[in-house]
Amino acid sequence: MPAYRSDRRFQLANDLFLVLVSLTMFAPLLHLAAVSLSAPEYVGAKLVTFWPRGFSLEVYRTIFGTSSLWRAMGVSVYITVVGTLLALLFTSTIAYSLSRPQMPLRGWILKGIVLTFVFSVPLIPSYLLVRTLQMDNTLWALMVPGALSAFNVFIMKTFFQGLSAELFDAAKMDGCSELGIYARIAIPLSSPVIATIGLFHAVGQWNSYFSALIYIKTKTLLPIQVLLRNLVVEDGLGSMSQIQTVDLSRTSTPEMMKAGILLFATLPILIVYPFLQKYFVKGAMLGSLKE
């Protein structure tokens, strides 16, 4: 913490600037909310900025009544929950084994994992692999290939190594097997790191759309982000009709529907974000740990 003689004018200008910058991070979402909650004539006349005018819930009535949106939301929730559990299981088991000195071939496996930092995964061969494994056009293609990262394995391994060795030894004396130590001691003591890695993975899984774009052909298996992407990129009414039964009546404009759907898909993130921020920040710090 630098210690200067207090310089009020500088402080004030600095604070003011940062407050303004931080408001620009939030303002667009507020604008979306205002647009989606206004009456169409105000939106059409560009009179809505950050507060709804001619308050109307029509957009949300339509969204909540659109089964394809709910379905896509369901797919997203499914891949987020199952994908995260899968990632945690894979990460914690290999990280635990690698944290134990008794692990055979430990050095070689660690080297093999470090190397994956350096080589990026090539797109075309991965795509062909997923096809060969017949995972394409299934939700597994969205969850399995990205389940493990060298980074997460190292973070968790470091955490396990920081747990008290005496505890592990004592359990061993009492006849606990390595499997028992993993399940009954290592995992229960690791909730901070599990929460952090799990949350990061969950957010990534929820937000990504590229794998779904390349692997999923069946419309009913598309996660919400792909639906949104079609709405945003291909723009306009053409893709609106893709989300069937969206009724573009006098009660809303396409712009309002778009705003509403975007917010609808962001809602889960916005709801968990304030509560989980401290885990996220802690997680980003974990990244600075060096072996």
């Binding site: 913490m1 630098p2 210690a3 200067y4 500088f10 402080q11 600095n14 604070d15 600037f17 940062l18 407050v19 910058v21 931080s22 620009t24 991070m25 939030f26 667009p28 604008h31 560009k46 900025t49 894979f90 088991t93 290999i94 990280a95 084994s97 008794q102 692990m103 055979p104 496996i109 093999g112 080589f119 990026s120 995964v121 090539p122 797109l123 075309i124 061969p125 991965s126 062909l128 692999l129 493990l148 390595e178 937000n207 990504s208 390349i214 949104l228 992407r229 709405l231 945003v232 990129v233 712009e255 975007l262 962001t266 974000y273 304030p274 996220f280 920040v281 980003a284 710090m285 600075s288």
Partner: protein
């Protein structure tokens, strides 16, 4: 008995690690081996065992394409601009945050600053695409200053500006976290001593703060430069449209469009190999350079 027990432990540990080991082998190493199709004329129905070998033909073809130099240039320019403007941004922001004295305000500001990092590129795209069209909010604001309305999304001249700015908007707050952690670790005695010696705010920043942050800066910079040929596909694909493709097409999106959608598997795998080859050389080279000059390295 003890020996037997430790053997059982070793077996259990291996078993426990097996899913993870297999995952790395299958999804990280097999695709690397799959790069061999860059030396084939790969045919989806024949598979890589039956497809004919063509030596370096795909690489020759790649370098013969005029289009290849175009996308290489696009990729490099996009990266260089985003390094030039995007790399210092979180550093400056972190230094400013560090000067805040009202802790409650600092915490609220940080909460808002981190938020966009958690929004998907689709959402961010949806927000900004809307803002940048002829009818959009940006044009309304510019209109107050007498600037004519135009569609920024379809004008190639603005593509890179849009990508770099939205990239900064989304990640600048999050990027401060590592710097803030490093800032919190600086010994306050250094500042007090400097103040006794009559050093002001700028002098302290120049002589204490920045040198303390140097390790973090160097490591982050190396990682960033190593990825100079990687674009954020999810970001580019949201902002790209046919009208801006001459500047908007980068290696990663080209591989997706021509390779996956156009089924030109071998040629685009060759391009992908070229890209990772450059990345590898850069990261190893820069790391060695940095180790010698600054003493900092990533591995």
């Amino acid at each position: 008995m003890l020996k037997k027990l430790s053997q059982r432990d070793a077996a259990l540990l291996l078993l426990l690690a097996l899913p993870g080991i297999l995952h790395f082998l299958v999804f990280r190493y097999i695709p690397l081996g799959g790069n061999v199709i860059a030396f084939q004329k790969y045919n989806l129905f024949k598979g890589f065992l039956e497809s004919p070998w063509v030596g370096l033909d795909n690489f020759r073809q790649m370098f013969a394409y005029r289009e290849f130099y175009q996308i290489l240039r696009n990729t490099l320019l996009l990266s260089l601009y985003s390094i030039l403007f995007g790399f210092p941004a979180p550093l400056v922001l972190a230094l400013m945050l560090n000067e805040m004295r009202r802790m409650w305000l600092k915490r609220s500001v940080q909460t808002l600053l981190y938020l966009p990092h958690f929004l998907s590129w689709v959402i961010v795209g949806g927000i900004f695409v809307n803002m940048l069209t002829t009818e959009g909010f940006l044009n309304t604001v510019f209109g107050w200053f007498g600037i004519d309305r135009k569609d920024y999304m379809t004008d190639p001249a603005y593509f890179r500006t849009i990508l770099v700015s939205t990239g900064i908007w989304k990640e600048v707050g999050w990027g401060t976290i590592l710097y803030l952690a490093a800032l919190a670790g600086i010994n306050p005695n250094l500042y007090e001593a400097a103040m006794v010696d009559g050093a002001g705010r700028w002098r302290q920043m120049w002589s204490i703060t920045l040198p303390s942050l140097l390790p973090a800066i160097v490591v982050l910079f190396l990682l960033r430069v190593g990825n100079v040929l990687d674009a954020n596909v999810e970001q580019v694909l949201v902002f790209q449209n046919p009208l801006v493709r001459e500047v908007g097409e980068v290696i990663d999106t080209y591989v997706y469009r021509i390779g996956l959608l156009g089924a030109q598997f071998s040629l685009t795998t060759a391009i992908g190999m070229f890209k990772s080859g450059i990345g590898l050389v850069l990261i190893v080279g820069l790391n060695a350079f940095s180790k010698r000059t600054t003493g900092e390295s990533i591995y």
